[in-house]
Amino acid sequence: MATAAVEVEDLKKRFGDVEALRGVSFGVETGTVLGLLGPNGAGKTTAVRILTSILAPDAGRASVLGIDVARHPQSVRLRIGLAGQYAAVDEALTGRENLRMVGRLCHMARAEVDQRAAELLAQFDLVDAADRPLKTYSGGMRRRLDLAAALVHRPPVLFLDEPTTGLDPGSRLDLWGVIGDLVVDGTTVLLTTQYLEEADRLADNIVVIDHGSVIAEGTADELKARIGSTHVEVVVAPDDAATARATLATVGVAAPPDAQHGVAVQITGGGQGVLEAVRALDAAGLRLESLAVREPTLDDVFLELTGHTVGEDAA
Protein backbone atom coordinates (compact mmCIF):
# COMPACT_ATOMS: atom_id res chain seq x y z
CA MET A 1 0.00 0.00 0.00
CA ALA A 2 1.24 3.42 -0.94
CA THR A 3 1.54 5.87 1.92
CA ALA A 4 1.60 8.82 -0.46
CA ALA A 5 -1.86 10.37 -0.81
CA VAL A 6 -0.76 12.27 -3.88
CA GLU A 7 1.93 11.20 -6.33
CA VAL A 8 3.16 12.96 -9.42
CA GLU A 9 5.76 11.45 -11.74
CA ASP A 10 7.55 13.28 -14.52
CA LEU A 11 4.51 15.40 -15.35
CA LYS A 12 4.77 17.43 -18.55
CA LYS A 13 2.39 19.95 -20.01
CA ARG A 14 2.84 22.46 -22.80
CA PHE A 15 0.50 25.27 -23.83
CA GLY A 16 1.59 26.32 -27.30
CA ASP A 17 5.11 27.68 -26.90
CA VAL A 18 4.99 27.70 -23.13
CA GLU A 19 6.26 24.66 -21.27
CA ALA A 20 4.14 24.90 -18.15
CA LEU A 21 5.54 21.70 -16.61
CA ARG A 22 8.87 20.20 -17.68
CA GLY A 23 8.86 16.85 -15.92
CA VAL A 24 7.71 17.51 -12.38
CA SER A 25 7.72 14.80 -9.70
CA PHE A 26 6.70 14.99 -6.06
CA GLY A 27 4.60 13.21 -3.46
CA VAL A 28 2.40 14.15 -0.52
CA GLU A 29 2.35 11.80 2.47
CA THR A 30 -1.07 10.94 3.83
CA GLY A 31 -2.17 13.35 6.53
CA THR A 32 0.45 15.98 5.75
CA VAL A 33 0.48 19.36 4.03
CA LEU A 34 2.63 19.91 0.99
CA GLY A 35 3.32 23.48 -0.02
CA LEU A 36 3.90 23.91 -3.74
CA LEU A 37 5.79 27.18 -3.72
CA GLY A 38 6.65 29.31 -6.68
CA PRO A 39 6.08 32.63 -8.41
CA ASN A 40 3.28 33.40 -10.86
CA GLY A 41 3.54 31.25 -13.96
CA ALA A 42 5.75 28.63 -12.30
CA GLY A 43 3.31 25.82 -13.16
CA LYS A 44 1.65 25.38 -9.75
CA THR A 45 -1.92 25.78 -10.99
CA THR A 46 -1.27 23.52 -13.99
CA ALA A 47 -0.10 20.76 -11.63
CA VAL A 48 -3.21 21.18 -9.47
CA ARG A 49 -5.52 21.13 -12.49
CA ILE A 50 -3.96 17.88 -13.69
CA LEU A 51 -4.24 16.31 -10.23
CA THR A 52 -7.90 17.33 -9.96
CA SER A 53 -8.73 15.76 -13.36
CA ILE A 54 -9.53 19.11 -14.97
CA LEU A 55 -6.61 18.99 -17.39
CA ALA A 56 -4.88 16.07 -19.12
CA PRO A 57 -1.06 16.06 -18.98
CA ASP A 58 1.02 15.61 -22.15
CA ALA A 59 3.16 13.04 -20.38
CA GLY A 60 3.74 11.62 -16.94
CA ARG A 61 1.55 10.12 -14.29
CA ALA A 62 -0.59 11.61 -11.51
CA SER A 63 -2.38 9.62 -8.83
CA VAL A 64 -4.48 10.43 -5.79
CA LEU A 65 -4.81 7.81 -3.02
CA GLY A 66 -3.21 5.35 -5.41
CA ILE A 67 -5.82 6.00 -8.11
CA ASP A 68 -4.56 7.03 -11.53
CA VAL A 69 -6.15 10.38 -12.36
CA ALA A 70 -6.17 9.88 -16.14
CA ARG A 71 -7.70 6.38 -15.97
CA HIS A 72 -10.20 6.88 -13.17
CA PRO A 73 -11.00 10.60 -13.03
CA GLN A 74 -14.45 10.06 -11.58
CA SER A 75 -13.09 7.94 -8.70
CA VAL A 76 -10.55 10.68 -7.99
CA ARG A 77 -13.27 13.35 -7.99
CA LEU A 78 -15.17 11.38 -5.33
CA ARG A 79 -12.20 11.78 -2.98
CA ILE A 80 -10.89 15.29 -3.58
CA GLY A 81 -11.89 18.84 -2.81
CA LEU A 82 -10.66 21.86 -4.76
CA ALA A 83 -10.66 25.46 -3.62
CA GLY A 84 -9.24 27.87 -6.14
CA GLN A 85 -7.66 31.26 -6.24
CA TYR A 86 -10.64 32.59 -8.18
CA ALA A 87 -13.18 31.94 -5.41
CA ALA A 88 -15.38 29.72 -7.52
CA VAL A 89 -18.72 30.18 -5.87
CA ASP A 90 -21.97 31.29 -7.45
CA GLU A 91 -22.47 35.02 -6.95
CA ALA A 92 -26.22 34.83 -7.38
CA LEU A 93 -26.77 32.21 -4.68
CA THR A 94 -26.55 32.51 -0.91
CA GLY A 95 -23.79 30.80 1.03
CA ARG A 96 -26.10 27.98 2.07
CA GLU A 97 -27.40 27.51 -1.48
CA ASN A 98 -23.85 27.26 -2.79
CA LEU A 99 -23.01 24.50 -0.32
CA ARG A 100 -26.26 22.68 -1.08
CA MET A 101 -25.56 22.85 -4.79
CA VAL A 102 -22.16 21.23 -4.33
CA GLY A 103 -23.63 18.57 -2.03
CA ARG A 104 -26.30 17.65 -4.54
CA LEU A 105 -23.78 17.51 -7.36
CA CYS A 106 -21.83 15.04 -5.19
CA HIS A 107 -25.01 12.94 -5.02
CA MET A 108 -25.42 13.17 -1.27
CA ALA A 109 -28.86 12.55 0.24
CA ARG A 110 -30.93 15.72 0.65
CA ALA A 111 -31.09 15.55 4.46
CA GLU A 112 -27.35 14.95 4.63
CA VAL A 113 -26.71 17.90 2.31
CA ASP A 114 -28.70 20.25 4.53
CA GLN A 115 -27.02 19.00 7.67
CA ARG A 116 -23.55 19.22 6.17
CA ALA A 117 -24.21 22.75 4.86
CA ALA A 118 -25.30 23.90 8.33
CA GLU A 119 -22.26 22.24 9.89
CA LEU A 120 -19.81 23.92 7.51
CA LEU A 121 -21.46 27.33 7.83
CA ALA A 122 -20.96 27.07 11.58
CA GLN A 123 -17.39 25.78 11.26
CA PHE A 124 -16.43 28.64 8.92
CA ASP A 125 -18.18 31.35 10.91
CA LEU A 126 -20.71 32.10 8.19
CA VAL A 127 -23.93 31.41 10.09
CA ASP A 128 -25.08 35.04 10.13
CA ALA A 129 -24.43 35.46 6.41
CA ALA A 130 -25.67 31.98 5.44
CA ASP A 131 -28.86 33.15 3.75
CA ARG A 132 -27.55 36.36 2.25
CA PRO A 133 -26.51 36.51 -1.41
CA LEU A 134 -22.78 36.44 -2.02
CA LYS A 135 -22.77 40.02 -3.26
CA THR A 136 -22.81 41.07 0.38
CA TYR A 137 -19.80 38.91 1.33
CA SER A 138 -16.31 40.28 1.97
CA GLY A 139 -13.31 38.77 0.21
CA GLY A 140 -12.41 36.75 3.28
CA MET A 141 -15.95 35.39 3.70
CA ARG A 142 -16.00 34.38 0.04
CA ARG A 143 -12.76 32.45 0.44
CA ARG A 144 -14.05 30.71 3.54
CA LEU A 145 -17.18 29.71 1.64
CA ASP A 146 -15.07 28.53 -1.28
CA LEU A 147 -13.07 26.36 1.10
CA ALA A 148 -16.27 25.09 2.75
CA ALA A 149 -17.63 24.18 -0.69
CA ALA A 150 -14.54 22.05 -1.28
CA LEU A 151 -15.26 20.12 1.93
CA VAL A 152 -18.96 19.31 1.53
CA HIS A 153 -18.44 15.66 0.60
CA ARG A 154 -15.70 15.20 3.22
CA PRO A 155 -12.85 14.57 0.80
CA PRO A 156 -9.74 12.95 2.35
CA VAL A 157 -7.51 14.95 -0.03
CA LEU A 158 -7.78 18.68 -0.48
CA PHE A 159 -6.23 20.91 -3.13
CA LEU A 160 -5.92 24.60 -2.30
CA ASP A 161 -4.76 26.75 -5.17
CA GLU A 162 -3.42 29.99 -3.69
CA PRO A 163 -6.09 30.06 -0.99
CA THR A 164 -5.18 33.47 0.40
CA THR A 165 -4.06 35.41 -2.70
CA GLY A 166 -5.52 38.89 -2.60
CA LEU A 167 -6.72 38.71 1.00
CA ASP A 168 -5.97 41.30 3.66
CA PRO A 169 -3.62 40.15 6.45
CA GLY A 170 -6.43 39.62 8.97
CA SER A 171 -8.44 37.40 6.64
CA ARG A 172 -5.30 35.53 5.72
CA LEU A 173 -4.59 34.72 9.34
CA ASP A 174 -8.21 33.55 9.73
CA LEU A 175 -7.91 31.23 6.78
CA TRP A 176 -4.58 29.86 8.00
CA GLY A 177 -6.29 28.90 11.23
CA VAL A 178 -9.06 27.13 9.36
CA ILE A 179 -6.62 25.21 7.16
CA GLY A 180 -4.60 24.25 10.23
CA ASP A 181 -7.73 22.74 11.81
CA LEU A 182 -8.36 20.61 8.72
CA VAL A 183 -4.94 19.11 8.94
CA VAL A 184 -5.50 18.20 12.57
CA ASP A 185 -8.54 16.23 11.37
CA GLY A 186 -6.29 14.13 9.13
CA THR A 187 -6.98 15.68 5.75
CA THR A 188 -4.11 15.53 3.27
CA VAL A 189 -3.54 18.96 1.75
CA LEU A 190 -1.70 20.15 -1.31
CA LEU A 191 -1.42 23.89 -1.15
CA THR A 192 0.01 26.19 -3.79
CA THR A 193 1.24 29.57 -2.77
CA GLN A 194 3.54 32.38 -3.71
CA TYR A 195 3.72 33.46 -0.09
CA LEU A 196 6.79 32.05 1.58
CA GLU A 197 5.35 32.83 4.95
CA GLU A 198 2.27 30.79 4.11
CA ALA A 199 4.25 27.71 3.10
CA ASP A 200 6.44 28.10 6.18
CA ARG A 201 3.42 28.38 8.42
CA LEU A 202 1.21 25.61 6.98
CA ALA A 203 3.31 23.09 5.11
CA ASP A 204 5.10 20.04 6.50
CA ASN A 205 7.04 19.78 3.27
CA ILE A 206 7.74 22.30 0.58
CA VAL A 207 8.38 21.77 -3.11
CA VAL A 208 9.82 24.84 -4.78
CA ILE A 209 8.88 25.11 -8.42
CA ASP A 210 10.03 27.64 -10.99
CA HIS A 211 9.49 27.74 -14.76
CA GLY A 212 7.87 24.30 -14.73
CA SER A 213 10.64 22.49 -12.84
CA VAL A 214 11.16 21.47 -9.24
CA ILE A 215 14.21 23.33 -8.02
CA ALA A 216 14.23 22.27 -4.38
CA GLU A 217 12.27 20.32 -1.84
CA GLY A 218 12.34 19.64 1.86
CA THR A 219 10.96 20.97 5.09
CA ALA A 220 11.00 24.71 5.63
CA ASP A 221 13.90 24.23 8.06
CA GLU A 222 15.86 22.13 5.59
CA LEU A 223 15.43 24.75 2.91
CA LYS A 224 16.49 27.47 5.28
CA ALA A 225 19.49 25.45 6.40
CA ARG A 226 20.66 25.38 2.80
CA ILE A 227 21.22 29.08 2.72
CA GLY A 228 22.80 29.49 6.10
CA SER A 229 21.56 29.71 9.57
CA THR A 230 20.37 31.95 12.32
CA HIS A 231 21.92 35.37 12.78
CA VAL A 232 22.41 36.81 16.24
CA GLU A 233 23.02 40.53 16.44
CA VAL A 234 23.99 42.30 19.62
CA VAL A 235 24.59 45.96 20.29
CA VAL A 236 27.12 46.83 23.00
CA ALA A 237 28.89 49.92 24.31
CA PRO A 238 31.69 51.09 21.92
CA ASP A 239 34.45 49.99 24.32
CA ASP A 240 33.02 46.47 24.50
CA ALA A 241 32.79 45.90 20.76
CA ALA A 242 36.14 44.11 20.43
CA THR A 243 35.45 41.79 23.39
CA ALA A 244 32.00 41.03 22.11
CA ARG A 245 33.39 40.15 18.70
CA ALA A 246 35.98 37.81 20.19
CA THR A 247 33.39 36.17 22.45
CA LEU A 248 30.91 35.56 19.66
CA ALA A 249 33.65 34.17 17.44
CA THR A 250 33.83 31.22 19.85
CA VAL A 251 30.20 30.21 19.17
CA GLY A 252 29.76 31.01 15.50
CA VAL A 253 31.04 32.62 12.35
CA ALA A 254 31.46 36.35 12.29
CA ALA A 255 29.01 38.17 10.09
CA PRO A 256 29.10 41.82 9.13
CA PRO A 257 27.46 44.02 11.77
CA ASP A 258 24.75 46.31 10.59
CA ALA A 259 24.17 48.76 13.42
CA GLN A 260 26.40 51.16 15.29
CA HIS A 261 28.45 49.20 17.83
CA GLY A 262 26.60 46.14 16.56
CA VAL A 263 28.28 42.80 16.41
CA ALA A 264 26.71 40.01 14.39
CA VAL A 265 27.39 36.35 14.19
CA GLN A 266 25.97 33.50 12.15
CA ILE A 267 25.35 30.45 14.30
CA THR A 268 24.18 26.91 13.78
CA GLY A 269 22.03 24.83 16.10
CA GLY A 270 18.95 27.04 16.13
CA GLY A 271 17.67 28.01 19.59
CA GLN A 272 20.42 26.08 21.33
CA GLY A 273 23.02 28.08 19.39
CA VAL A 274 21.37 31.32 20.43
CA LEU A 275 21.42 30.19 24.07
CA GLU A 276 25.13 29.39 23.86
CA ALA A 277 25.82 32.81 22.38
CA VAL A 278 23.93 34.51 25.18
CA ARG A 279 25.72 32.45 27.83
CA ALA A 280 29.12 33.27 26.35
CA LEU A 281 28.34 36.99 26.28
CA ASP A 282 27.08 36.83 29.87
CA ALA A 283 30.17 34.92 31.02
CA ALA A 284 32.36 37.62 29.45
CA GLY A 285 30.55 40.17 31.61
CA LEU A 286 29.29 42.20 28.69
CA ARG A 287 26.36 44.55 29.08
CA LEU A 288 24.05 44.29 26.07
CA GLU A 289 22.09 47.25 24.81
CA SER A 290 20.06 44.96 22.57
CA LEU A 291 20.04 41.48 21.17
CA ALA A 292 18.20 40.39 18.05
CA VAL A 293 17.80 37.00 16.41
CA ARG A 294 17.01 36.86 12.72
CA GLU A 295 15.89 33.60 11.11
CA PRO A 296 16.42 33.27 7.38
CA THR A 297 13.13 33.52 5.53
CA LEU A 298 11.98 31.52 2.55
CA ASP A 299 12.48 34.71 0.55
CA ASP A 300 16.18 34.22 1.18
CA VAL A 301 15.81 30.59 0.05
CA PHE A 302 14.13 31.58 -3.16
CA LEU A 303 16.66 34.23 -3.96
CA GLU A 304 19.45 31.74 -3.35
CA LEU A 305 17.88 29.00 -5.49
CA THR A 306 16.65 31.00 -8.45
CA GLY A 307 18.60 34.20 -8.47
CA HIS A 308 15.38 36.17 -8.29
CA THR A 309 12.87 36.83 -5.57
CA VAL A 310 9.31 35.57 -5.48
CA GLY A 311 6.96 37.73 -7.51
CA GLU A 312 9.79 39.07 -9.64
CA ASP A 313 10.29 37.21 -12.89
CA ALA A 314 13.70 36.01 -14.00
CA ALA A 315 14.17 38.68 -16.62
Partner: protein, 273 residues
Protein backbone atom coordinates in the same frame (compact mmCIF):
# COMPACT_ATOMS: atom_id res chain seq x y z
CA UNK B 1 -17.95 1.68 1.21
CA UNK B 2 -16.80 5.12 2.15
CA UNK B 3 -14.82 7.13 -0.37
CA UNK B 4 -11.76 7.12 1.89
CA UNK B 5 -11.34 3.37 1.48
CA UNK B 6 -9.57 2.83 -1.79
CA UNK B 7 -10.64 -0.12 -3.89
CA UNK B 8 -7.52 -0.52 -5.92
CA UNK B 9 -8.72 -2.82 -8.67
CA UNK B 10 -9.88 -1.23 -11.90
CA UNK B 11 -13.25 -2.98 -11.98
CA UNK B 12 -14.26 -1.59 -8.59
CA UNK B 13 -13.13 1.90 -9.58
CA UNK B 14 -15.11 1.71 -12.81
CA UNK B 15 -18.17 0.51 -10.90
CA UNK B 16 -18.18 3.34 -8.38
CA UNK B 17 -17.55 5.87 -11.15
CA UNK B 18 -20.54 4.88 -13.22
CA UNK B 19 -23.30 7.48 -13.28
CA UNK B 20 -26.81 6.40 -14.17
CA UNK B 21 -29.55 8.30 -15.96
CA UNK B 22 -30.98 9.22 -12.55
CA UNK B 23 -27.83 11.10 -11.55
CA UNK B 24 -27.67 12.83 -14.92
CA UNK B 25 -31.27 14.03 -14.57
CA UNK B 26 -30.68 15.06 -10.94
CA UNK B 27 -27.47 16.95 -11.80
CA UNK B 28 -29.09 18.68 -14.78
CA UNK B 29 -32.01 19.65 -12.52
CA UNK B 30 -29.60 21.10 -9.95
CA UNK B 31 -27.85 23.11 -12.66
CA UNK B 32 -31.19 24.35 -14.04
CA UNK B 33 -32.31 25.34 -10.56
CA UNK B 34 -29.11 27.30 -10.04
CA UNK B 35 -29.41 29.07 -13.40
CA UNK B 36 -33.07 29.95 -12.81
CA UNK B 37 -32.27 31.34 -9.35
CA UNK B 38 -29.61 33.45 -11.02
CA UNK B 39 -32.16 34.72 -13.51
CA UNK B 40 -34.74 35.54 -10.85
CA UNK B 41 -32.13 37.42 -8.82
CA UNK B 42 -30.61 39.41 -11.66
CA UNK B 43 -33.04 42.25 -12.29
CA UNK B 44 -31.47 43.29 -15.61
CA UNK B 45 -32.03 39.80 -16.96
CA UNK B 46 -35.69 39.81 -15.95
CA UNK B 47 -36.17 43.17 -17.62
CA UNK B 48 -34.38 41.98 -20.73
CA UNK B 49 -36.31 38.72 -20.82
CA UNK B 50 -39.80 40.14 -20.29
CA UNK B 51 -40.14 43.84 -21.00
CA UNK B 52 -38.31 43.77 -24.30
CA UNK B 53 -40.55 41.18 -26.01
CA UNK B 54 -43.61 43.03 -24.76
CA UNK B 55 -42.30 46.26 -26.25
CA UNK B 56 -41.62 44.49 -29.54
CA UNK B 57 -45.17 43.14 -29.75
CA UNK B 58 -46.60 46.60 -29.07
CA UNK B 59 -44.17 48.48 -31.30
CA UNK B 60 -44.58 46.26 -34.34
CA UNK B 61 -48.32 46.07 -33.82
CA UNK B 62 -48.84 49.82 -33.61
CA UNK B 63 -45.85 51.35 -35.43
CA UNK B 64 -45.51 49.04 -38.42
CA UNK B 65 -49.06 47.72 -38.35
CA UNK B 66 -50.34 50.73 -40.27
CA UNK B 67 -47.65 50.69 -42.97
CA UNK B 68 -47.41 46.99 -43.74
CA UNK B 69 -50.45 45.43 -45.38
CA UNK B 70 -50.78 41.66 -45.46
CA UNK B 71 -53.45 40.21 -47.74
CA UNK B 72 -56.29 38.36 -45.99
CA UNK B 73 -55.15 38.91 -42.38
CA UNK B 74 -54.78 41.73 -39.88
CA UNK B 75 -51.03 42.52 -39.58
CA UNK B 76 -50.92 41.47 -35.92
CA UNK B 77 -51.94 37.91 -36.83
CA UNK B 78 -49.05 37.77 -39.34
CA UNK B 79 -46.71 39.57 -36.97
CA UNK B 80 -46.91 37.27 -33.93
CA UNK B 81 -44.98 34.41 -35.56
CA UNK B 82 -42.20 36.89 -36.39
CA UNK B 83 -42.03 38.39 -32.91
CA UNK B 84 -42.03 35.02 -31.17
CA UNK B 85 -39.21 33.71 -33.31
CA UNK B 86 -37.28 36.99 -33.21
CA UNK B 87 -37.45 37.09 -29.42
CA UNK B 88 -36.24 33.55 -28.87
CA UNK B 89 -33.53 33.96 -31.50
CA UNK B 90 -32.07 37.05 -29.84
CA UNK B 91 -32.77 35.55 -26.40
CA UNK B 92 -30.65 32.47 -27.19
CA UNK B 93 -27.70 34.76 -26.47
CA UNK B 94 -28.34 34.15 -22.75
CA UNK B 95 -27.09 30.57 -22.94
CA UNK B 96 -23.67 31.47 -24.33
CA UNK B 97 -23.20 34.54 -22.16
CA UNK B 98 -24.11 32.53 -19.05
CA UNK B 99 -21.63 29.79 -19.88
CA UNK B 100 -18.90 32.29 -20.73
CA UNK B 101 -19.45 33.98 -17.36
CA UNK B 102 -19.28 30.65 -15.53
CA UNK B 103 -16.04 29.85 -17.32
CA UNK B 104 -14.57 33.22 -16.44
CA UNK B 105 -15.58 33.09 -12.80
CA UNK B 106 -14.01 29.66 -12.32
CA UNK B 107 -17.32 27.99 -11.47
CA UNK B 108 -16.98 25.52 -14.32
CA UNK B 109 -13.54 24.66 -12.98
CA UNK B 110 -15.21 23.65 -9.74
CA UNK B 111 -17.94 21.70 -11.53
CA UNK B 112 -15.29 19.77 -13.42
CA UNK B 113 -13.61 18.75 -10.16
CA UNK B 114 -16.89 17.39 -8.75
CA UNK B 115 -18.15 13.81 -9.25
CA UNK B 116 -21.17 15.11 -11.14
CA UNK B 117 -22.38 14.06 -14.60
CA UNK B 118 -20.22 15.85 -17.18
CA UNK B 119 -23.02 16.85 -19.51
CA UNK B 120 -25.22 18.28 -16.74
CA UNK B 121 -23.62 21.73 -16.98
CA UNK B 122 -24.76 22.19 -20.60
CA UNK B 123 -28.03 20.31 -20.20
CA UNK B 124 -28.94 22.30 -17.10
CA UNK B 125 -28.08 25.59 -18.74
CA UNK B 126 -30.11 24.93 -21.91
CA UNK B 127 -33.01 23.56 -19.87
CA UNK B 128 -33.09 26.69 -17.70
CA UNK B 129 -33.18 28.79 -20.86
CA UNK B 130 -36.02 26.68 -22.18
CA UNK B 131 -38.00 27.33 -18.99
CA UNK B 132 -37.31 31.04 -19.35
CA UNK B 133 -38.52 30.91 -22.96
CA UNK B 134 -41.76 29.17 -21.95
CA UNK B 135 -42.53 32.14 -19.70
CA UNK B 136 -41.46 34.73 -22.27
CA UNK B 137 -43.46 33.17 -25.10
CA UNK B 138 -46.52 32.81 -22.86
CA UNK B 139 -46.26 36.46 -21.85
CA UNK B 140 -45.93 37.62 -25.46
CA UNK B 141 -48.92 35.53 -26.49
CA UNK B 142 -50.98 37.09 -23.74
CA UNK B 143 -49.97 40.60 -24.82
CA UNK B 144 -50.69 39.57 -28.42
CA UNK B 145 -54.24 38.58 -27.51
CA UNK B 146 -54.69 41.90 -25.72
CA UNK B 147 -53.76 43.87 -28.85
CA UNK B 148 -56.00 41.89 -31.18
CA UNK B 149 -54.09 38.74 -32.15
CA UNK B 150 -56.25 35.83 -33.27
CA UNK B 151 -55.44 32.32 -34.45
CA UNK B 152 -57.32 31.02 -37.48
CA UNK B 153 -56.81 27.25 -37.23
CA UNK B 154 -57.43 25.81 -33.77
CA UNK B 155 -56.23 26.10 -30.20
CA UNK B 156 -54.26 22.89 -30.70
CA UNK B 157 -52.67 24.48 -33.77
CA UNK B 158 -51.67 27.48 -31.63
CA UNK B 159 -50.13 25.18 -29.00
CA UNK B 160 -48.27 23.38 -31.78
CA UNK B 161 -46.99 26.71 -33.05
CA UNK B 162 -45.77 27.73 -29.58
CA UNK B 163 -44.14 24.32 -29.14
CA UNK B 164 -42.37 24.81 -32.45
CA UNK B 165 -41.06 28.23 -31.32
CA UNK B 166 -39.76 26.68 -28.08
CA UNK B 167 -38.06 23.79 -29.86
CA UNK B 168 -36.36 26.25 -32.19
CA UNK B 169 -35.27 28.31 -29.17
CA UNK B 170 -33.79 25.16 -27.63
CA UNK B 171 -31.82 24.33 -30.78
CA UNK B 172 -30.39 27.89 -30.90
CA UNK B 173 -29.35 27.54 -27.24
CA UNK B 174 -26.83 24.94 -28.37
CA UNK B 175 -25.40 27.25 -31.05
CA UNK B 176 -25.13 29.94 -28.41
CA UNK B 177 -23.58 27.47 -25.93
CA UNK B 178 -20.86 26.65 -28.44
CA UNK B 179 -20.07 30.36 -28.94
CA UNK B 180 -20.02 30.88 -25.17
CA UNK B 181 -17.52 28.04 -24.72
CA UNK B 182 -15.28 29.21 -27.57
CA UNK B 183 -15.30 32.91 -26.68
CA UNK B 184 -12.63 34.15 -24.26
CA UNK B 185 -15.23 36.12 -22.29
CA UNK B 186 -18.92 37.01 -22.07
CA UNK B 187 -18.54 40.23 -24.07
CA UNK B 188 -17.00 38.38 -27.00
CA UNK B 189 -19.71 35.72 -26.88
CA UNK B 190 -22.29 38.47 -27.09
CA UNK B 191 -20.51 40.24 -29.95
CA UNK B 192 -20.16 36.96 -31.86
CA UNK B 193 -23.78 35.98 -31.44
CA UNK B 194 -25.38 39.28 -32.38
CA UNK B 195 -24.57 39.41 -36.13
CA UNK B 196 -25.62 35.79 -36.60
CA UNK B 197 -28.97 36.33 -34.92
CA UNK B 198 -29.53 39.73 -36.58
CA UNK B 199 -28.98 38.36 -40.10
CA UNK B 200 -31.19 35.34 -39.39
CA UNK B 201 -34.00 37.50 -38.02
CA UNK B 202 -33.98 40.50 -40.36
CA UNK B 203 -33.20 38.65 -43.60
CA UNK B 204 -36.23 36.46 -43.06
CA UNK B 205 -39.98 36.52 -43.41
CA UNK B 206 -40.34 37.60 -39.78
CA UNK B 207 -41.84 41.03 -40.38
CA UNK B 208 -42.32 41.38 -44.13
CA UNK B 209 -43.19 38.80 -46.79
CA UNK B 210 -40.02 37.45 -48.40
CA UNK B 211 -41.50 38.24 -51.85
CA UNK B 212 -41.38 41.97 -51.01
CA UNK B 213 -37.53 41.97 -50.83
CA UNK B 214 -36.16 43.57 -54.03
CA UNK B 215 -32.87 41.66 -54.38
CA UNK B 216 -33.00 38.15 -55.82
CA UNK B 217 -30.02 36.90 -53.73
CA UNK B 218 -31.63 38.23 -50.58
CA UNK B 219 -34.91 36.51 -51.39
CA UNK B 220 -33.03 33.28 -52.06
CA UNK B 221 -31.23 33.51 -48.70
CA UNK B 222 -34.34 34.55 -46.80
CA UNK B 223 -36.39 31.72 -48.26
CA UNK B 224 -33.84 29.03 -47.37
CA UNK B 225 -32.79 29.75 -43.82
CA UNK B 226 -34.08 28.31 -40.54
CA UNK B 227 -35.81 31.39 -39.11
CA UNK B 228 -38.00 31.70 -42.21
CA UNK B 229 -38.68 27.96 -42.20
CA UNK B 230 -39.81 28.04 -38.57
CA UNK B 231 -41.89 31.19 -39.10
CA UNK B 232 -43.61 29.66 -42.13
CA UNK B 233 -44.51 26.58 -40.10
CA UNK B 234 -45.75 28.72 -37.20
CA UNK B 235 -47.85 30.80 -39.61
CA UNK B 236 -49.25 27.63 -41.13
CA UNK B 237 -50.22 26.41 -37.68
CA UNK B 238 -51.86 29.70 -36.68
CA UNK B 239 -53.15 31.19 -39.97
CA UNK B 240 -53.98 28.05 -41.96
CA UNK B 241 -53.17 26.97 -45.51
CA UNK B 242 -50.89 24.07 -46.50
CA UNK B 243 -48.95 23.29 -43.33
CA UNK B 244 -47.59 19.73 -43.18
CA UNK B 245 -44.55 20.21 -45.45
CA UNK B 246 -43.67 23.50 -43.68
CA UNK B 247 -43.76 21.77 -40.30
CA UNK B 248 -41.57 18.94 -41.53
CA UNK B 249 -39.02 21.38 -42.98
CA UNK B 250 -38.95 23.42 -39.75
CA UNK B 251 -38.53 20.30 -37.61
CA UNK B 252 -35.70 19.15 -39.87
CA UNK B 253 -33.90 22.48 -39.35
CA UNK B 254 -34.47 22.27 -35.59
CA UNK B 255 -33.21 18.69 -35.39
CA UNK B 256 -30.20 19.49 -37.58
CA UNK B 257 -29.18 22.56 -35.58
CA UNK B 258 -29.61 20.70 -32.28
CA UNK B 259 -27.60 17.66 -33.33
CA UNK B 260 -24.76 19.61 -34.93
CA UNK B 261 -24.33 22.28 -32.28
CA UNK B 262 -25.05 20.09 -29.25
CA UNK B 263 -22.32 17.66 -30.29
CA UNK B 264 -19.89 20.49 -31.05
CA UNK B 265 -20.70 22.19 -27.73
CA UNK B 266 -20.32 18.97 -25.73
CA UNK B 267 -17.03 18.24 -27.43
CA UNK B 268 -15.82 21.76 -26.76
CA UNK B 269 -16.90 21.55 -23.12
CA UNK B 270 -14.70 18.49 -22.61
CA UNK B 271 -11.70 20.54 -23.72
CA UNK B 272 -12.17 23.92 -22.05
CA UNK B 273 -11.77 25.09 -18.47
Amino acid sequence: MTPTMVPLDDAALDREARLGARQLVADAATMSWRNLLRLVRTPQLIVFSTIQPVIFVLMFRYVFGGAIKIPNFPYVDFLMAGVWVQTVTFGALNTGVGLAEDLQSGLIERFRSLPMARSAVLLGRTTADLVRNVLVVALMTLIGFLVGFNYHVSFVGLLGALGMVLLFAYSLSWLSALLGLVAPNAETAQAAFFPISAVLVFASGAFVPVESMDQAWLRAFARNQPVTAVINAVRGLTLGGPTASKVVLALAWIAGITVVFASLAVRRYRKVA
